[in-house]
Amino acid sequence: MDSTLPDCGLFSQCLLFNLNTFKSMKKTQKAITLLVTMIIAVVFVLGNTVNAQQAKAKPWPVPDKNKAIKAPVNLKDASVISNGKDLWAKNCKSCHGAKGLGDGPKSVSLKTFPGDFSSAAFQSMTDGELFFKTSTGRDEMPAYEKRLPDANDRWGLVAYMRTFKK
């Protein structure tokens, strides 16, 4: 450390030490240091900017025959909802959030906003539509017909999603 540095704390001393080091560099070294610093700054800003501009989900058409499918189980049954709640915690909460608001910890890394499942627009979908989308997935949303091969599990998720209604 330069003994002529003022006594203003370790952080300030480090900063001033680096500024003094920068001043003593040759022109080429200064140019490279500035260029690398700018690249790091641009990448950092762009990374955060991309996350802030999460895209809205595109329209997701569902075939009429799938829309019309009725649940083979009672979606208001407590045991069905309880099963759905457990499966939600394990499979869905990390992206869609605990209450389906699209605010799960992984949601910030998604290109598309996972959606607000408490909204009127979401809840107006038929049970068959919710089952279809859960089963087939698209883009960043996995197809759960393979991960949850038992259809009753996916109907349990539909039942639990209905509880998000405001």
């Binding site: 499966l87 915690a89 394990k90 499979n91 996995p142 393979k146 991960r147 091969p149």
Partner: protein
Amino acid sequence: MHKPIRNFMKRFLIGLFFFLTGAGIVFSQDSIPVQTKKPLTKAPFESGYFIDDQTVALPPAHTLQMILQHRLGTIQNGWTDLAGIWGASNIRFGLDYTINKNVLVGLGTTKNKRIQDLQAKYTFFRQRQDGFPLTLSIYGNMGISCLNKSAFGTDFKARDRFSYYYELMIARRFCKMFSAQVGIAWVHYNIVDTTVTPRDWHVNSMYNDNLQISGIGRLKVSPQMSIIATYSQSVFTYVNRMPWPNAGLGIEVSTATHAFQVFFAAAQGIVPQEVSFYNDKNPYNGVILIGFNITRLWTF
């Protein structure tokens, strides 16, 4: 072991294997009329790996499973080696694939003794709601030690590298929170290191073969977290000598695609036949280590 007893045991176990497989084919759930099929219960365990044991659980069909198993050094040295974190460790890396909903095949490589292993698991009965009360699986593992041939003594033959482990597992999901499994396994080594376990340490002079019994239990405390415990021991060995029983206690956290287990256990071998035959750490004397298993699934 006396030759007649060993031969009888081999024939009995082979016959039991084919009987159970045949029973599985004859009484396979696909052949039961649809109207009498009861719905399946949920799988009793989140992962096919459970501390140092296998479970009846299989990933969904056409799933690739990666497994990392790590066992640190024992905790006895305290701060000098940071409770075993800086001590001699063992690690296994494996890949498994479910051919269909009932069959899994896999391979792995382990640091200690450079064991390369091939394994397969077949679930032939599944527990059903208000129906069949158990889930039954059989598991087989063949290990090949790739140490330098000088490690096998003066009269080395290629077959000396091989070891085998075959287990019948019977599990039940008692309720949403609790599942348990018992298992019985036949373990065989083509050659046994008698400098580690002298022949007279084994009952009835049985030194290439052994039976192992095991029990595991899982208590679910939240949708994603469970407390897990396991115990296993050899049958044909004397008490108070190697190989010691293995006991483990830990926690498991699972997501859709991962299962993480962190635990205390005694055995460092990882490969099941090593855990059964060569566990030199006595859990009753507090000789335990920290270990973890991580599985990751890719569904195709």
